[in-house]
């Protein structure tokens, strides 16, 4: 293949206060190729795109476009567009209350005597839609079109603005299979016309269906660029998840394989529990003293599964038994009263209550469980806060410090303390170690194992397979909102886990 190079990004670095979001990342896009950008959450995909489109300013490195003598610097998405780089986001950035034609020509309407020339606009729209084979009338209202059509119109708009590089940021996450197929047809057509497409998605199937090349990022670093046909799925998953080696290897061996065998009845037992649109019906049993891991790529349903268990999303089918009794959980408080605790995936959005103090953040769940009228005494609150600050070694100036001024790891510990204070039988930890330093990470893993030793049932979710292998006695694998495997004993090794996550790719692995 001797394709002409369209865009090169070299040695790109970008940092935010306290985080190196991108370190010496490179990316090359050729004429007429579809290039997937892959990586787990926080790998730096969005940052890279935002640097490319001028939303963020790059700190070092350079971006070169074919035809430009000097490196280009985009200060805004408009400038990027002028340079031939257009982006279509997951949420369509168009006006739903305007017609298709109006959306196509918004801001650059053909004019006649200073007025919008509707005739020309509709004619041009029709021609454009026809050339891209998008089945919609120019006069139709955008909001009446399906999401896929809306995505296509956004793409058509970009194409008509003579873009050379088209960025598709997770365009398929809210489309069904038919719609995805239509979108792919359009992508292939553009590819044949020589447009370079940068495609971001979490769905492996889609990568292998349309992409020519894959660039993998991990933790803000560049992992590599591969031809799709040379990179088996398992390898891709391995590259995305990485294999950090740290000082944790011995944890698991220290953990006594103490099982609470006498307990026949599972603490949690789900039968065909599901929630439309997020997680397909699943069965799950979790026993006392057991750490069960949920794994799968982002968007596979691992977080959605626990949200249904905890009542954060109300299940719409199936039943749930707690300690052998049928339980009706329609809101988090119901789950808490049955002895559950839940550390959510998104600490900032769903976890901490930023302006409240460490003390208030720790006691809030227990207080809510007790009810509005039975306010904990100030002494009880202080003691509880001090106990968990001490036990979990939370680094804070004092118990009255606002929790927002703590570091991420310490905020996470505050939330763990919040749940331990309620003495749960079943604790859900969704990504408790994300974005926190290695020391705290180890501490949290040790804590999980010691809680299990004391008889607590734990569900542990992490993007790092290594970490899960160390802590979990059993692992459930999810893919595309479905439970696809359950591993225990000898099956708990990196190889098998990754095979199961990737699925469908055993023959090329």
């Amino acid at each position: 293949m001797n394709q002409k190079i369209l865009l090169t990004m070299k040695d790109i670095s970008k940092s935010f206060p306290g985080v190196l979001a991108l370190q010496h990342v490179q990316f090359t896009l050729r004429k007429g190729e579809i290039h997937a950008l892959m990586g787990e959450n926080g790998a730096g995909k969005s940052t890279l795109i935002k640097v490319l489109t001028g939303v963020y300013q790059l700190e070092s490195g350079e971006i070169r476009m074919d035809g430009a003598a000097r490196p280009i610097v985009n200060h805004s998405p408009q400038e990027a567009q002028a340079n031939g780089i257009s982006t279509v986001y997951q949420e369509v950035n168009l006006c739903p209350n305007l017609t298709v034609a109006e959306n196509l020509f918004l801001g650059r309407e053909p004019r006649r005597f200073g007025m919008i020339d509707w005739k020309t606009m509709n004619r041009k729209s029709e021609a454009l839609l026809k050339s891209l084979e998008i089945p919609v009338a120019p006069a139709a209202m955008l909001e009446e079109c399906s999401l896929a059509i809306q995505q296509m119109i956004a793409i058509a708009r970009a194409v008509d603005m003579r873009c050379k590089v088209l960025i598709l940021d997770e365009p398929t996450s809210s489309l069904d299979d038919d719609e995805v197929e239509k979108l792919f047809a359009l992508m292939r057509k553009l590819k044949a016309e020589g447009v370079g497409i940068l495609f971001v998605t979490h769905f492996l199937e889609q990568v292998y269906a349309v992409c020519d090349r894959i660039t993998v990022l991990r933790n803000g670093g560049f992992v590599g660029e591969y031809e799709t046909k040379d990179l088996p799925r398992v390898m891709l998953v391995a590259k995305m998840l990485g294999k950090d080696l740290d000082d944790l290897a011995e944890i698991k061996s220290a953990h006594s394989e103490h099982r609470f065998e006498e307990e026949k009845v599972p603490v949690i037992s789900a039968r065909q529990l599901g929630h439309r649109g997020t997680i397909k019906p699943f069965d799950l049993d979790i026993r006392k003293g057991e750490v069960v891991g949920l794994t799968g790529l982002l968007g596979s349903g691992r977080s959605e599964m626990v949200r249904v268990l905890y009542g954060a999303d109300r299940p719409d089918c199936g039943k749930l038994m707690v300690r052998g009794r049928k339980a009706k959980i329609s809101k988090p408080l119901d789950a808490m009263k049955l002895g559950m605790g839940y550390l959510p995936e998104n600490r900032q959005r769903d976890g901490i209550i930023a302006e409240l103090s460490v003390r208030e953040n720790i006691i809030i769940a227990l207080q809510a469980k007790r009810g509005m009228c039975r306010l904990m005494s100030r002494r009880e609150m202080d003691e509880a806060a001090d106990r968990y600050i001490d036990l979990l070694q939370i680094k804070t100036a004092g118990r009255e410090t606002p929790v927002k001024s703590l570091s991420g790891g310490n905020q996470q510990k505050v939330i763990i303390g919040r749940w331990l204070l309620t003495h749960p039988d079943y604790l859900i930890l969704d990504e408790p170690t994300r974005g926190i330093d290695i020391g705290t990470k180890t501490a949290i893993q040790k804590l999980v194992l010691s809680l299990a030793d004391q008889g607590m049932a734990v569900t542990f979710i992490s993007a790092e397979v290594e970490e899960m292998l160390r802590t979990c006695s059993r692992m459930l694998v999810l893919r595309d909102g479905r439970k696809v495997g359950e591993l225990s004993g000898d099956e708990l090794n990196q190889e098998t886990v990754m095979q199961t996550i990737a699925g469908g790719g055993e023959d090329d692995g």
Binding site: L333, R349, D350
Partner: protein, 355 residues
């Protein structure tokens, strides 16, 4: 720096009530300069008399409204702009029951207690309506309460059948006047009592903490088991109820139910009181005391302007100027500017001493 513990001065200035108090003091100071007799209190006809008594007395309705507004603001990050109209509804219900449906009465046609309870129930119902729209249907507070803001006075007119209902009974005037021979105006007791009661409810139950939590992060609050919807709803009911109390006080002052004028424009003053009290209008942590101080500041300002012979028509202009100054002083940008200036000064001072 060899400072081991923060100085007393620093402790005072870093208190969140510092600026609201300073603003109140500045307004009072201007008063004293303009009207030396401002703080003079005398007894005339057996009751306290003087500018300052007038300020505190007249501020009562505003204090009560500001308390309710604070809660609504904290829990929902929005304001209830219907409180003025709800005051009119409560006044109309109260007077109409007392007069037994007639335009004017010189004797209670129904027990006073019944009238008060009915008026409060009506205002709580208005609050519940607002609360339902905001908490359950997730309509923006400003839009949701706009409905009663416009319709409330119409409802009050319907209740009084388009008349101004007069209740010319001494007992009714006690609420907005004086109890027997007590020289202190009754509204002051009612305002202080209400604020104190709400304060106790918030701090002796988990309601205060829950309101703050829901206002800061509704999603996280739900996941720790708080019923965000219920808590927001409750604050609106409470806000309506308090508007009812203020409405009864206002109506008793003029012993009538004037649907067009009771509580007119008071909702804006109440929102302003919350803001002047150093509370963030986007919700979250709040200080009741701050809002109460804010309410007194506004009333002091109004009285000052009257004392300076500013006519009622021009009043809003001067008030607006004063408010702009106060709000600017408290704005984060201005605070940053002051801090930066202080640092710069310290640096030049140190640079000078070190050579």
């Amino acid at each position: 720096m060899a400072e081991t513990k923060p100085s007393v001065w620093k402790k005072i200035t870093s208190n969140r009530l510092f600026l609201p108090v300073v603003c109140l003091l500045v307004v009072l100071l201007i008063n004293v300069i303009r009207t030396p007799a401002f703080f003079q209190i005398s007894i005339r006809n057996g009751v306290l008399y003087g500018y300052i008594v007038d300020v505190v007395n007249r501020a009562s309705e505003l204090v009560i409204l500001a308390v309710g507004m604070t809660l609504v603001t904290a829990a929902s990050g929005g304001q209830d702009i219907s409180v003025g109209a709800v005051m009119a509804v409560a006044a109309a219900v109260c007077c109409q029951i007392l007069s037994g449906g007639k335009v004017t009465t010189s004797a209670f046609q129904n027990p006073l207690l019944l009238a008060i309870v009915a008026a409060l129930a009506a205002s709580a119902l208005c609050g519940a309506f607002n609360g339902f729209l905001v908490a359950r249907l997730k309509i923006q507070p400003m839009v949701a309460t706009l409905i009663l803001f416009t319709a409330g006075r119409g409802i009050a007119q319907l209740v009084t059948q388009g008349q101004i209902t007069y209740v010319r009974v001494g007992t009714y005037q006690v609420i907005g006047g004086y109890i027997a021979s007590c020289p202190i105006p009754t509204p002051i007791f009612i305002a202080i009592g209400t604020a104190l009661l709400v304060y106790l409810v918030l701090n002796k139950t988990a309601l205060g903490l829950s309101i703050e939590s829901v206002g800061i992060n509704g999603s996280a609050s739900r996941l720790v088991g708080l019923n965000s919807t219920m808590i927001q709803f409750l604050t609106y009911v409470l806000c309506g109820l308090l508007a009812g109390v203020a409405g009864i006080v206002a109506s008793s002052r003029i012993y009538s139910a004037d649907a067009n004028n009771i509580g007119l424009n008071l909702e804006m003053d109440a929102i302003l009181a919350v803001a002047l009290g150093g509370n963030f209008l986007g919700g979250g942590k709040f200080s009741l005391m701050g809002s109460v101080i804010g309410a007194f500041t506004i009333q002091a300002l109004t009285t000052t302007l009257y004392a300076m012979n500013v006519s009622g028509d021009q009043l809003p202009v001067y008030k607006a100027i004063a408010v702009v100054i106060i709000v600017t002083l408290q704005s984060p940008v201005f605070q940053e500017f002051l801090k930066a200036r202080k640092v710069r000064r310290r640096r030049t001072a140190e640079g000078g001493s070190c050579g």
